[in-house]
């Protein structure tokens, strides 16, 4: 029973973190219908920055968000204008985005190797005291609880942005129907640029905590995060940012319970679920209907 509860609590915390990691990828897909295959690399860059801030200035990752989030938001804005509008003018923006961001991800991984080397780096657990907390009779690292709490706060912030602001209303209109949104006076480039900035900032924010939650930072770990994030948003519903949370819950619990009871299967079962979802419900668990292209 104790193992069962441990797996439940751990999976819950992982689900929150995975939601944050994948949220930006779904936001970009929802608004721009492009796939950012370099999503994981932005997460890794955020992680390196947070680690550097911790080592050199003693920032804990929560504090480092004050630097990481605005910086990566600005990077997202700067990258949007030379990259995305050109993609969207192509005959097949979705496939073009695959190819372009595939290249971007390799370039970023190469840069990370140049600057940070191939060795794993991680944040010091001891930044948070006490080291462990009791949650539902399960003892978990405080760092994991903080990671989950920040993730939930970020999800709430994205919800408020989408459902409580004028910019969010424009963003949702754009997600539903691009042509109608334009005809109704929505400046799609401005809305998309902000969404792209948010997406990169969310990835980097997740990166600030990734090395605390069992994923030591290395240049190559970005691919893993892109893969996990992509699986999560397909399970939840492509193009629906808040469905990411459900996708992350399914993925995290599949991973968490198999990791406890069938450890050899822990990296396989979540993807078997992904395949089952694609076959049974291609629009994702919360998708309204099959995607339109």
């Amino acid at each position: 029973m104790s193992l069962f509860v441990d797996a439940f609590v751990t999976s819950m915390l992982y689900a929150a973190f995975f939601s944050l990691a994948a949220l930006g990828l779904n936001l970009v897909f929802g608004v721009m219908r492009i796939v950012n295959l370099a999503h994981g690399e932005f997460l890794v860059m955020g992680s390196y920055l947070a680690i550097a801030l911790a080592i050199h200035y003693g920032f804990n990752p929560v504090l480092s968000l004050a630097v990481v989030v605005p910086l990566f938001f600005a990077i997202g804005l700067l990258l949007y204008y030379p990259l995305v509008p050109r993609l969207q003018r192509s005959d097949d923006p979705e496939m073009s985005s695959f190819i372009l961001f595939f290249g971007v991800s390799f370039a970023m991984e190469g840069l990370a190797v140049q600057f940070f080397g191939n060795n794993y780096q991680e944040m010091n657990y001891a930044l948070f005291r006490p080291l462990h907390l009791n949650l539902l009779n399960s003892t978990v690292p405080t760092a994991w609880v903080v990671t989950a709490a920040v993730s939930v706060a970020a999800i709430v912030a994205v919800y408020l942005y989408l459902y409580r602001t004028g910019l969010g209303l424009k963003t949702r209109a754009l997600m539903i129907n691009r042509d109608e949104a334009m005809a109704n006076g929505v400046n799609i480039n401005r809305v998309s640029a902000v969404a792209f900035g948010f997406s990169i900032a969310l990835a980097a924010a997740a990166g600030s905590f990734s090395s605390l939650i069992s994923y030591p930072t290395s240049p190559s770990i970005g691919d893993t995060f892109t893969l996990i994030s992509f699986a999560i948003i397909i399970i939840g519903a492509l193009g629906n940012p808040l469905a990411t949370v459900l996708g992350a819950v399914v993925f995290a619990y599949a991973y968490g319970y198999t990791d406890i009871y069938l450890p050899n299967w822990s990296s396989i079962v979540p993807f078997i679920i992904l395949i089952a979802v694609i076959l049974a419900r291609p629009q994702g668990l919360l998708g309204r209907k099959a995607r339109e292209f």
């Binding site: 424009k170 949702r172 209109a173 129907n177 042509d179 949104a181 334009m182 109704n184 006076g185 480039n189």
Partner: protein, 244 residues
């Protein structure tokens, strides 16, 4: 009454690969004029609406609105300037209510915030017969109601020129009459209107001025009564002499 030219197309061409969807199209819309744009399927009517509203950009030619060149101007800026349109197949924002759909157009479709949002939304919903559906999700509307919602959204942007793309398509005779009466009311609130339509009876009820497109070219421009006896128009609609 027709007055000064408010919308002008001079030699407008739009290509899709090697196919010219619009070929050196020249048309003008005077202040107070309603222009019916007719022609067979594939003649370029909707492409023309897309080019004027900015969803497509012309490859050649000049588009001007109120004396200002609008080639290359984005759709949202054209909306702010006073050009808006309905869609042949309306796709309202399905995750939002009817009222929220109209609110988006009220909020963002023109420059400057309104102070009378509620009243404006109510008036537009009443005019388009959607008052009772105000709180309903847009996805629950039937096809006719979705078309009315599309019109309501376009009107909410307070257009100077309204481009109406096959609003009567798929409607029965009674519904067509209602829509024709509605557009005749709308005429009073806009400075000009272009109506794309297949249904000739419908066009006749809303305007006398028509332009006929065929294979991307304007083959007739004048009064409806003259169009129906024009040899080129007859050929397009009825086929050449001796054809099967």
């Amino acid at each position: 009454m027709e007055g000064e030219v408010i919308l002008s197309l001079q030699g407008v061409t739009k290509r899709f690969g090697s196919m010219e969807a619009l070929s050196r199209v020249s048309l003008s819309l005077g202040r107070g004029q309603t222009l019916g744009l007719i022609g067979p399927n594939g003649s370029g009517k909707t492409t023309l609406i897309n080019v004027v509203s900015g969803l497509l950009y012309a490859d050649a030619g000049t588009l001007s609105f109120l004396g200002r060149r609008i080639n290359g101007m984005s759709p949202h800026r054209r909306s702010h300037l006073g050009i808006n349109r309905t869609f042949q197949i309306p796709h309202p924002f399905h995750g939002l209510t009817v009222r929220e759909n109209v609110d988006i157009a009220l909020l963002f479709g023109r420059k400057g915030r309104r102070t009378d949002m509620d009243q404006a939304a109510e008036d537009i919903l009443k005019l388009t017969g959607l008052s009772d559906q105000s709180g309903q999700m847009a996805s629950s509307l039937n096809t006719g109601q979705k078309k009315m919602l599309d019109l309501a959204k376009a009107l909410a942007t307070e257009p100077k020129v309204l481009l109406v793309d096959e609003l009567a398509a798929g409607l029965n005779a009674a519904e067509t009459d209602v829509v024709a009466n509605l557009l005749n009311q709308v005429k009073k609130s806009v400075e000009g209107m272009v109506i794309v339509e297949h249904v000739m009876n419908f066009i006749r009820k809303v305007t006398e001025d028509v332009a006929v497109l065929d294979a991307g070219r304007v083959i007739f421009s004048g009064k409806f009564a003259d169009a129906v006896s024009d040899p080129k128009v007859m050929e397009v609609y009825l086929g050449t002499k001796g054809s099967p």
